[in-house]
Symmetry: C2
Subunit: 193 residues, 2 copies
C-alpha cells in the first residue's frame, strides 16, 4: 500500500524505515470518484495529494472564461496549489478536478509541519520535489513560447504516452494552449503522413 509513495519520496533522499513509518502514519488515504472537484477557485488549498491511481487536472479559468490546464497528475505524481505562498492571504485561483476514479494519499499543511518536526529529512525531500516541479514548469514555459502547436503536441505524446488515451482531446488542447479545433486539424494532418 505504501510502497509507491515511499519509493517516490525516497528518490532523492534515503530514509530509515522508521522515518518512512512516521511518514506513512501521517498520510490520509482517500478514494474519490471521477469528475469530482477537489479544490474550487476561491478556496484555500489545504492539502497536498499524491496520486496512487487515477488522473486529475489542475486548471485556471482565464478572464474570458476559458479553462487553461496547468497540470495533469497521474499515478505517482503530486498535486496541490502552491500559489498561496505568493499571495499569502489570498485564496486559490485554481481548480483541481479528478478525471477518473482516483485514489490518493493526502497531507494537510499541519501534518506536513508535524512530519518536518518529527523527521526533518523530509524537508529536504520536499525541497527537491519542489525543485523538480519548477524545472518541469520552466521547461514547459520554454516549449509554450518557442514551439509550434504541432511540435508541442508531438512532444506531449512522447512525454505522456498514456495520457492521450486517457483524457479527452480538448483537455490536451487546453494544456497545450491551443484550441480544440486546431488540435483536431493537427491530428488529421499527422495521421496522413
Amino acid at each position: 500500500m505504501y510502497s509507491q509513495i515511499n519509493k517516490n519520496i525516497s528518490r532523492y533522499v534515503t530514509f530509515e524505515p522508521k522515518e518512512l513509518e512516521i511518514f506513512n502514519s501521517l498520510l490520509e488515504h482517500k478514494t474519490v470518484s471521477k469528475k469530482t472537484i477537489l479544490l474550487h477557485e476561491g478556496e484555500m488549498c489545504n492539502f497536498e495529494a499524491f496520486v496512487i491511481k487515477g488522473c486529475v487536472r489542475k486548471y485556471y479559468i482565464d478572464a474570458n472564461g476559458f479553462e487553461v490546464i496547468l497540470q495533469f497528475a497521474i499515478e505517482n505524481a503530486w498535486v496541490s496549489d502552491i500559489s498561496f505562498s505568493i499571495y499569502e492571504d489570498n485564496p486559490s485561483r485554481v481548480y483541481i478536478e479528478t478525471l477518473e476514479d482516483c485514489e490518493f494519499f493526502l497531507f494537510s499543511p499541519e501534518t506536513k509541519e508535524e512530519l518536518f518536526s518529527k523527521a526533518p529529512k523530509f524537508e529536504r525531500a520536499f525541497r527537491i520535489l519542489m525543485q523538480r516541479s519548477l524545472a518541469v514548469t520552466q521547461d514547459r514555459l520554454f516549449n509554450t513560447i518557442s514551439k509550434s502547436a504541432t511540435e508541442k503536441y508531438l512532444e506531449f505524446l512522447e512525454h505522456y504516452p498514456t495520457l492521450s488515451q486517457r483524457v479527452a482531446q480538448h483537455y490536451i488542447a487546453s494544456y497545450l494552449g491551443i484550441s480544440a479545433e486546431f488540435l483536431s486539424k493537427i491530428r488529421t494532418k499527422i495521421a496522413k503522413l
Copy 2:
C-alpha cells in the same frame, strides 16, 4: 553588507543571529561587469546567485536560434539553473548573463550542503524560496497561454516597473514571447491613447 540577503532569507523563516553568521560566512562575494556570461549552455551550473546590485537575464536558445528569456533577476532576486535536477547528468541548457555591472553573493552546491548540515533550518528557507519561484513561473505560464501580447506587456510594466527603463526592449519582447517589432507596435499604440 549582509543586511539585504539576510532580510531576504529571513522572509519566511526566522533565524538566530548565529545561524545568519554561519550563512554569511559561507557566501562568496563577487563583482561582475556588464555583458558577462556567468553560465554557458553545456556547462554545469555550479552556483546559486543572489543579486545585490545589477540585473541579469537567464535564457535558452531555441531550435531556430532564437533566445527565449526565462527570467530577469534584479536586486534581491536569486538566479541559478535548477534544471540539472531534472536530467541529473545533463549539463545546463540555459545561459545566464549580466545586463548591467553586478554585485552578487554566490553559493556553490557544496557550500549549500555545508550550510544545511551546520544550520538545518536553511533547508526550509530554501524550500519556501523554491516554492515561490514555482508559483511565479506557473503564473507566468498561465499568462503566456491565456493573455494577448498587449495584456502581457501591460502586466509586465506593472510587475517590473523599473525594468522597462533598465533593459533593452527586445529583451522584454523575448521575455514576453513576442517579436521585438510587434512589441514596438504595441508601444506606439499604447502611447496614442
